[in-house]
Point group: C2
Chain length 153, copies 2
DNA sequence: CTCGCTGCAAAGCTTTTGCACTAGA
DNA sequence: TCTAGTGCAAAAGCTTTGCAGCGAG
């Protein structure tokens, strides 16, 4: 996956939808793709601000929103507030460790069976990609006091 | 499940942990249990305010927090912000329809296999009860325009 | 009598929005 | 030129917190 090509292709999607390609958008898209699927809006803002401090986080949100409408970006909620963004071309689900914040990816087909069951038995069509599956990674499980009180959030 | 007995038992848990049983706490617990597993803090506040308008929502949050620390209550996030509260004695997962807001319950064992796999392959211990599984219920699926743009949020 | 609980108001966190200005195409 | 995009500041939505007074045990 050649990053520059991906950046260009993403910006092109924006343009062909009638959008404009601006410096901020270019930098945001670049940071998003460099982030490799696990970046929050705030991290993106921080990143682009290194080279251009005037880019406001509202612009980051608006750019991500535009890309999401076009179907090339998705966001995933990790908890109460925070969300991360990634390219839609790379479908996956997320495991989010409440202990250390680590994010791991899992293949969607892992849930295919459960998905079918819910669909069949409850008539419900899930969108499992939109929220991370939270829990504790191996090392945080070992550190964890015991069981009661499943930590914060 | 006799509600009054459940209310008493819940308050007793609070007392035996060194807490005090107050009017607001009693009313909040009663409303929580009457709510049958699907009430938000705001709904609880609204409910108790019918008989006691001076109970502040901060008190509702603090009471729920105290109960949660004691392990008798859990909360479940439905989306970006909202969370609902239910008794921990009734373990279940939730399906939350993005279209109409309807909440359905699913038995935890539905996910037992996936859970084991994630545990085995990723060393990750999930807490699937903490976020609802979102998607669309049968009737909202039929209403839905098509596929692109998976709605709000 | 003491310490936990309460009400109130203010703040926190992430995301959104209104507005006037700037700048792509 | 003309409209989309931008920066700024303010607001929104849910939850938490500081503080002083109140009341359960």
């Amino acid at each position: 996956m050649l990053d520059d090509a991906t950046v260009d292709r993403t910006l092109e999607t924006l343009r062909s939808a009638g959008g404009r390609i601006t410096k901020p958008r270019e930098q945001i898209v670049r940071a998003l793709i460099a982030g490799n699927g696990h970046v929050s809006a705030e991290e993106l803002a921080k990143q682009v601000n290194r080279s251009n401090p005037s880019i406001h986080i509202a612009t980051v949100y608006r750019t991500l929103d535009a890309l999401e409408r076009l179907g090339v970006v998705n966001h995933v909620h990790l908890g109460h507030g925070r969300a991360i963004y990634h390219l839609a071309s790379d479908p996956h689900y997320h495991l989010y460790c409440q202990g250390c914040g680590k994010i791991e990816e899992v293949p969607p087909d892992l849930f295919a069976e459960v998905d079918r069951t819910i669909n069949r038995e409850w008539g419900f069509e899930t969108v499992l990609s939109h929220f991370a599956f939270i829990g504790f990674c191996r090392s945080c499980r070992e550190d964890r006091p015991a069981d009661p009180a499943i930590a914060e959030d």
